[in-house]
C-alpha cells in the first residue's frame, strides 16, 4: 500500500481518500492507496480525485465526462454506496472517504469498469414501434408525456445495476433495473404499439427481481425504479401470461399473442 498522506493531517483543511487500485479483473491483486487532498469549499468527490490524478499520481484512472451529473460516467462506490463522484459532496461525508469501482462489472483499471455488456442487453429489447395508426405527425397530450417522463430521465450511470444483488452475484439471466426502466419507458410511450411482456418474462428474466428496492434507493435521478417500473412491468407479465380469465378469453377469441401488439 502506497501512502501519499502525512502522519497527522488536519481534517478541516484536507480530506483523506482511500482508492482501490489495480489493472484487470484478476491478473493483479487489488490494493488501496491513500491520498491527502486539500479541502475546498463545495468540493465534490470527483474534484478530489482529479486533484490526485493531476498532483499526486497521474497513473490513476477515472472515467468522467460532464462533471455535472448529466452523463452518468463517473459511477463508483463511495464508502460502499454506489454514487456519482461528481454529485457527491465531500462535506456530506464524515472522515475518510473510500472509493471503489462498481463491483458488478469487470474492472478495467482502478475506478474504471467495463460496462459494455449493457449494450448487448439493450440490443435485445424490442425497440419503439409506433402504432399502426400513428401517422407522420403525432398527436398526444402532456398527461401522456408525464407518465413516461420519469423513465426517460435515466442517465445510464448503471449504479442500479451495480447495487442489484441478482446481477452482482451473476446468478441469473436478469436484464437488470436499467433495462427494465428502458422497457417501461417504451411500454409507457403514448404511441408505442408493442407488447413486451413475453420478452420481459423470458429473455428479460424479470421474475428474478425479488423487489428489494435497492436500485430505487440509490438512483441519482430519483427514478422510483422498483415501484414505478419493475412492479408495473411484472404486473403486465402477470396480466398477459398468468391471468386465467384473460388466458381463456384470448384462447376463445384467438386474438393477439404476447410479444406482438398491445
Amino acid at each position: 500500500m502506497e501512502t501519499h498522506a502525512s502522519a497527522q493531517p488536519d481534517q478541516r483543511k484536507t480530506i483523506r481518500l482511500r482508492i482501490l487500485r489495480g489493472t484487470g479483473e484478476r491478473t493483479s491483486s487489488p490494493h488501496y492507496d491513500t491520498f491527502e487532498v486539500p479541502r475546498e469549499e463545495g468540493m465534490v468527490v470527483l474534484n478530489a480525485v482529479h486533484y490526485i490524478q493531476s498532483h499526486l499520481d497521474p497513473s490513476l484512472s477515472i472515467r468522467w465526462n460532464c462533471k455535472a451529473g448529466r452523463c452518468g460516467s463517473c459511477s463508483a462506490e463511495i464508502n460502499g454506496r454506489p454514487q456519482l463522484m461528481c454529485k457527491t459532496r465531500v462535506d456530506s461525508i464524515e472522515g475518510e472517504i473510500t472509493i471503489e469501482p462498481m463491483q458488478a462489472f469487470p474492472r478495467l483499471k482502478d475506478l474504471v469498469t467495463d460496462v459494455t455488456a449493457n449494450w448487448k442487453v439493450a440490443a435485445t429489447i424490442p425497440p419503439f414501434t409506433p402504432k399502426a395508426n400513428a401517422g407522420d405527425i403525432y398527436t398526444f397530450y402532456q398527461a401522456d408525456v408525464d407518465r413516461s417522463r420519469e423513465f426517460r430521465r435515466c442517465i445510464e450511470c448503471f449504479l442500479c445495476m451495480d447495487v442489484c444483488h441478482v446481477i452482482r452475484e451473476h446468478e441469473a439471466d436478469y436484464m437488470g433495473p436499467r433495462w427494465v426502466v428502458k422497457a417501461a419507458s417504451l411500454d409507457m410511450h403514448p404511441m408505442d404499439g408493442l407488447n413486451r411482456s413475453k420478452f420481459m418474462k423470458d429473455a428479460g428474466g424479470l421474475g428474478y427481481c425479488n423487489i428489494t428496492k435497492c436500485c430505487q434507493e440509490i438512483c441519482p435521478e430519483h427514478i422510483v425504479i422498483t415501484d414505478d417500473a419493475i412492479i408495473p412491468e411484472k404486473e403486465r407479465v402477470v396480466d398477459r401470461h398468468y391471468d386465467p380469465i384473460l388466458w381463456v378469453y384470448r384462447r376463445l377469441k384467438g386474438g393477439a399473442t404476447a410479444g406482438e401488439t398491445k
Binding site: L46, N65, K67, R152, E171
Partner: protein, 597 residues
C-alpha cells in the same frame, strides 16, 4: 453463471474473459475495414450512422467516451425548428433570417437555408424515432421562447432535450445493429497517397490501450467542439477538439476559428462547478438578470428583448456590469426565476432546480442564482460544402459543432440540436453515396508507422511534463488572453504562452500501463489543443473589428470590410490564413432577411 438457472438467452453477467494486456511499447494494431467510418457519437455522429447504415453502407461508429455520454447529453433548452405550433406565423423563412442576422451575416447562406428548411422534418422524424416532446394543449409538440428567436421555436423535453435526443438516436443505432466501438480515441487521419482521398485513421482502444487501424471509403468527423481549452466552460472532458486537430493535420481547411460562444449564464459557485451551464430556458421561462444595485440591467443594452437578447449581447452586458463594479458578491450577476413559483419551476426546469440544490445549496424557487459567462460553443471549425458536408479533403465529411458555416459569429440557442440532425443526416447520406462509388483507398504503411511512433512517444519520453498541468495552463491562458473582450496585446501574449507550452509539451510523459491511461490519452489531446488555440488566437488577431462573439476593445466597431470568413489551413507544415468574402444570398433569400435594428 449457474447453468440450472439459465432460463433466458442473455448470459450477460457471467464473469468475462480477461482483456488482453498490452506492453507499453507494443506497436501492433488490429485493422478494421468499413465503408463509412464515423468518428464521434453525439447527435451528429449517431444521426449520420443511421443514414449511412440505412443507405446500405457498411458503417462503423467510434467514439471517445462511452456510448450515450457525448456532450449532446448536456443540451438543455430545446431544439429550434419552425414548426409554428405555438406561433403559427413562424416559418423556415423567419428562422433563416434570425440565424443570418444573429450570426452577424457571417454564416453561409446556403447552409442556413438547408438548415432552416430541413430542421422541421428532422424534429418530426426524431419524434417518429421515439422522442417524447412536451406538448401544447392541442397535443402538438410544444415550443418555448429563446433568445433572439422571433417566435417561440424551441421544441423541448423539459430542460433535458439533449438527453432525450441522444438516447433516442442511440436506441435507433443499437436496434439497427450498427457496429460501434466506444472509448476509442482516434489520433490521426490518413489520406490515399495517390488520390489524396481520406483513407483511414489510427485509434487507441482506451479500455485496453491496444492500437487500431481503421480503413474506410469515407470518413465523417462528428467530434464536437473544443471548449475544454478554456478554464471556465460548460463543456465535457472530451470536448478537446481532436477532430478539428486531426482534420487540420490532414490538410482540411478550418474556418471562423476566432468565433467562440460565451454562454451568458454559467454557475460561479462553488469553485468545483464553476462554468456549469445554467440553461437559457431559465430566461426563456421568465428569469430576470439584475446587478448588485438591483437594477434590471438588460434594459440598458437591449430594452426590446431584455434577457432574451442574443447570447453575445447578454454575455457582453454581464461582462460590462462586472467591470463597472456592479457585479454580485461571487463575481457575477444575479438571475432570478423565483417569482414563477415552485410548481412551475420544478416542472419546467427540473434539472436546474436539482443542480443548484445539489451543488450550491440554493433553492431557486426561493433564492437568486449567481451567474457569469462560460465558454459554451465553437461556431468555427472544419469548412464544409453546404450540400454534402464534405470538407476540403475528398472523402472527409464533418457535421455538428466540429463543422463551421451555420452559426456565423454567434449561435442562437437551440440551433445546435437541429444542426446536428440536419447535417448529421446529410453527411451520412453523402458519405454513404460516395463510398459506393470508390475503391477502398490505400493507406501508406510508412505513415502509419510514423503515427504509431508519435502516439507511443509519451511512454518513452525522457521528460516529465504532466499533461493535466499543461491542460490547466492552456485553459487559464485562453481564459486570461482570449476571452469575451479581446485586444492585440492580450492575444499576442496568449500566443507567446501557447508557444511556451508547446515546448513544455515536448516532454509530455505517460505513466503506468496502456489500459485506460489518461496520462497518455490526455498527452495526445494536449498537442491538438495547442494547435487549436493557435488557430483561434491567430484568427482573432486577424479580425480587426468587433462582430458577434468576437469583441475587440482595440477595434470596437463592426466593419463591413470584414464581411469575410477567415480560413486556416496547413501548408508545408505551417499554419497559414486567408480570407474569403461571405457569399451573398440570391435575391429571393436576401429579401427574407429582416434586420431588427
Amino acid at each position: 453463471m449457474n447453468g440450472s438457472m439459465a432460463s433466458g438467452v442473455l448470459d450477460l453477467w457471467a464473469p468475462q474473459q480477461e482483456k488482453e494486456s498490452v506492453e507499453v511499447n507494443d506497436r501492433s494494431y488490429d485493422e478494421r475495414v468499413c465503408d463509412v467510418l464515423i468518428i464521434g457519437a453525439g447527435g451528429a455522429g449517431l444521426r449520420a450512422a443511421i443514414e449511412s447504415h440505412d443507405r446500405g453502407a457498411k458503417t462503423l461508429v467510434v467514439c471517445k467516451s462511452l456510448l450515450g455520454k457525448a456532450h449532446t447529453v448536456m443540451a438543455e433548452g430545446g431544439i429550434a425548428a419552425a414548426l409554428g405550433n405555438v406561433d403559427p406565423k413562424d416559418s423556415w423563412e423567419v428562422h433563416f433570417s434570425d440565424t443570418i442576422v444573429e450570426g452577424q451575416h457571417l454564416s453561409n447562406w446556403r447552409i442556413v437555408e438547408i438548415f432552416a428548411k430541413e430542421a422541421i422534418e428532422r424534429v418530426y422524424e426524431l419524434e417518429r424515432y421515439g422522442a417524447v416532446f412536451d406538448r401544447t394543449p392541442a397535443g402538438k409538440i410544444s415550443q418555448r421562447p429563446f433568445g433572439a428567436h422571433t417566435y417561440r421555436r424551441l421544441c423541448n423535453i423539459g430542460d433535458r432535450t439533449g438527453l432525450e435526443l441522444i438516447r433516442t438516436l442511440q436506441d435507433q443505432v443499437v436496434a439497427r445493429g450498427v457496429p460501434f466501438m466506444d472509448e476509442v480515441m482516434t489520433t490521426c487521419l490518413f489520406r490515399d497517397p495517390k488520390t489524396g482521398r481520406a483513407a483511414g485513421a489510427l485509434g487507441i482502444d482506451i479500455k485496453t490501450g491496444k492500437l487500431l487501424l481503421f480503413r474506410a471509403r469515407a470518413i465523417i468527423i462528428a467530434t464536437g467542439g473544443s471548449g475544454r481549452v478554456y478554464q471556465v466552460t460548460s463543456n465535457s472532458y472530451e470536448s478537446t477538439g481532436d477532430g478539428i486537430g486531426m482534420a487540420y493535420r490532414a490538410g482540411a481547411e478550418l474556418m471562423d476559428m476566432e468565433m467562440i460562444q460565451f454562454h451568458p449564464t454559467g454557475m460561479i459557485y462553488p469553485p468545483g462547478v464553476r462554468g456549469m451551464l445554467v440553461t437559457e430556458a431559465v430566461r426563456g421561462e421568465g428569469g430576470i438578470l439584475t446587478n448588485s444595485e438591483g437594477e434590471r440591467f438588460m434594459s440598458k443594452y437591449d430594452p426590446k428583448r431584455m434577457e432574451l437578447s442574443a447570447r453575445d449581447v447578454v454575455a457582453r452586458s454581464i461582462y460590462t456590469e462586472k467591470r463597472a463594479g456592479r457585479g454580485s458578491k461571487g463575481g457575477g450577476v444575479y438571475l432570478d426565476i423565483s417569482h414563477k413559483g415552485a410548481d412551475h419551476i420544478k416542472k419546467k426546469l427540473p434539472s436546474m432546480y436539482d443542480q443548484f440544490l445539489a451543488f450550491a445549496d440554493i433553492d431557486i424557487t426561493k433564492d437568486k442564482m449567481e451567474v457569469a459567462p462560460t465558454v459554451h460553443y465553437q461556431m468555427g471549425g472544419i469548412r464544409v460544402d453546404p450540400e454534402t458536408a464534405e470538407s476540403s479533403v475528398k472523402g472527409l465529411y464533418a457535421a455538428g459543432e466540429v463543422a463551421s458555416g451555420l452559426h456565423g459569429a454567434n449561435r442562437l440557442g437551440g440551433n445546435s440540436l437541429s444542426d446536428i440532425l440536419v447535417f448529421g443526416k446529410r453527411a451520412g447520406d453523402a458519405a454513404a453515396k460516395s463510398a459506393t462509388a470508390v475503391d477502398l483507398p490505400s493507406v501508406d504503411s510508412k505513415e502509419v508507422e510514423k503515427e504509431i511512433s508519435r502516439v507511443l512517444s509519451p511512454f518513452s519520453s525522457t521528460g516529465s511534463a504532466n499533461p493535466f498541468h499543461i491542460k490547466e495552463e492552456i485553459a487559464s491562458n485562453m481564459w486570461a488572453h482570449v476571452g469575451i473582450v479581446r485586444n492585440a496585446v492580450d492575444l499576442e501574449a496568449g500566443l507567446v504562452e501557447i508557444e511556451r507550452l508547446r515546448k513544455d509539451a515536448k516532454g509530455l510523459k505517460a505513466v503506468g500501463p496502456r489500459a485506460y491511461n489518461q496520462s497518455w490519452t490526455d498527452s495526445l489531446q494536449v498537442l491538438d489543443m495547442l494547435l487549436i488555440c493557435e488557430a483561434m488566437i491567430r484568427s482573432a488577431l486577424e479580425r480587426k473589428e468587433s462582430r458577434g462573439a468576437h469583441t475587440r476593445s482595440d477595434f470596437p466597431a463592426k466593419d463591413p470590410k470584414w464581411l469575410v470568413n477567415i480560413i486556416t489551413v496547413q501548408e508545408d507544415g505551417k499554419m497559414v490564413r486567408r480570407t474569403v468574402p461571405v457569399s451573398t444570398p440570391p435575391q429571393e433569400l436576401q429579401r427574407l432577411i429582416k434586420e431588427d435594428d
